[in-house]
Amino acid sequence: MFFITYLRRELRRRMRQAIFIALGLALGVGLVVTVSAASAGVKKAEAGVLSGLYGVGTDVTVTGPAVLTGRFGQVKVGGTGDLIANANGAEDCQNGKCEEVPAGQSVQSLGAPYSAFTSAHVAAVARLHGVSAAAGGLLLSDIALTIPRNHGRAGGPKPLPPSPVFFSVDGVDTGHLELGPLSAGTIASGRSLTAADAHSDVAVVDSGYATSNNLKTGSTMTIDEVKFRVIGIVRQPQDGGSPDDIYIPLARAQALELARGSAATGEVDMIYVAAASAADVPAVTREITSLLPRCTVTTAASLASEVTGSVTSAAKLANDLGKWLAVLVLIAAFAVASLLTMAAVARRVREFGALKALGWRTRRIVAQVLGESVAMGIVGAAAGVGLGFAGAAVISAIAPKVSAVIPGSSRAFSQAAGQAAGGAPTGELDPATAPRVVAIPLHPSVTVDVIVLAVLLALLGGLVAGALGSWRIARLSPADALALVA
């Protein structure tokens, strides 16, 4: 009790100094919390981008080489059916034979943009050491084009290529729903696909696509002249950018391709792989590259390394400048706290000498001084955590959106192709490698770990300051202390 009374009175006596020290520590701790929160927010944004691109349970994605390239003003879809749009209108090409699409008519084309894998490839990948599961996927692009009635006629629209209506269809292996892009989504209404749906004409529709096309659970939609019933609406992570539009059972997607004569039975164009452990991912990547040398093997790490834009700048800023700024402020706070504590100890030599003469052990006096410093550290920690939350709230309120530039990749193709066709790009464009910019709101998150770290840092600051002050007390003999009094 005496300890607390003495400590409280002493801190009250030098309240201004105590507040100054506590505020210094609070500033350092607050910066650590804010920077950590911002850094966590950036990492979360990055993870969101990757999970949206990638699927939650997927460690490695294998994609065949792109079979198409597109140019400004042209849209091509793979397989034997090509739809070529140009300034004169459009041509529908089947098996090398092209027919001009008459004005006022619509044409549709469905195709896979990548070279196919056979089921044997998928099985071979699944058998690789370190692979716990592998599933095939078939990504299709459906393009519908309507030529205006007065296209190219006098008084009609300018002879620009007509804009296609585009959507992507993802054939999902219902036996491995834990892999692939659907695994990252959340069912907003209805239900997801199940193994029982493997041969049913059912579809799960992305929420954004459903809204823009007025689709609901129970609605019916047409894909390449086949009617599918919408059984669920899925919400994909926003951070992941444009998701695929429609998810149907893999077998049905393969059947659509087969019906067009553009694929063989059981072909897929993507392989989603889950490694037995994170440590196995590099080895699995090497094995797959060796097994399928012409394919693109993408891991979360390689994808992350290719993501650029302000999200990476923000991560770099948080990791480099922010971290070092916080460290510098903390060191400054520690130094100021230590100097002020040592000055306070120097002013109290008379007091400590008298206490030693009274029979107080050095360690008891040291404990008293340490207690005072730690108390300031606790106040600094509390204020620092508050400052950290405030800093995180300010960042959140300002809500700077960071952008992630995702290089053209397997998952990005369909969206990039859509943008290339529907947007107004300039110059030559290769849809398979077109970068995609995703805007992600930055939400700093203060975690319990960070709070614990902040409290420990502030206490450490208090302890360091107290220890330096105590070091002088410990070295002070009572006779010297009293001699200094005289």
């Binding site: 002493e10 008298a354 206490l355 009274l358 029979g359 107080w360 008891r364 009572p478 006779a479």
Partner: protein, 242 residues
Amino acid sequence: MYKLTGVAKLYHKGRRTVRAVTGLSLVIGDGEWLAVQGRTGHGKSTLLNLLGALDRPTEGTVELDGTDVGALRETQLTALRAEKIGFIFQTFNLISTLSAAENVEAALIPLRIGAADRGARIAAALDAVGLADRATHLPSELSGGQQQRVAIARALVKEPEVVLADEPTGNLDEDTRDDIIGLLERLWRERGLTLVLVTHDTEIARRAQRVGIMNNGRLTFGQAADSAPMSVPGPPAPPPSG
């Protein structure tokens, strides 16, 4: 009882060695009041530090109740001070943030006395110095004389065998000085304390049983002030009772 034999204390100031105390042999009997006079810098405070186990002799031995103080470890010296020796300083050395009672309590902290007993002893100590009604006052709220009374209560609350007072009236006016010395004398008589009092004041020194004069680190004995030094460094008769 103190027994000092051939005690010397040397300090090093740069390359120079200063003999603060030298060739000191002395016996201070239980219950004796010894006054020590001398000019500033002639070793009075060093003598007090040696007697108070605040410092160790460079040469010779300082024994308190048969224990060689110089041979004790630091923790033992601390315990010795806590249990047997009370200090009174010229500048009081009260802790400014603590009340009178809390300052007195500070002397009981090393003794680990229970809260109830502690409270009773503090109250008794403050009562003995006439400050029972000032227990909650801070030093800044007390006069110089009252502060020194608190310091005396702090020295006596642990019921020490020895009280060492270094110029206890040096910062006080004449009336207050008489009050404080009267109080010390009364407590010395009542409690049978061994009192070693360093003072410049001849009037105060005359009230002691024995007066030692420190001169260039050597102690000689006389009746007080400018009196001729006595040659025999031994204890006088026991203090008068009552």
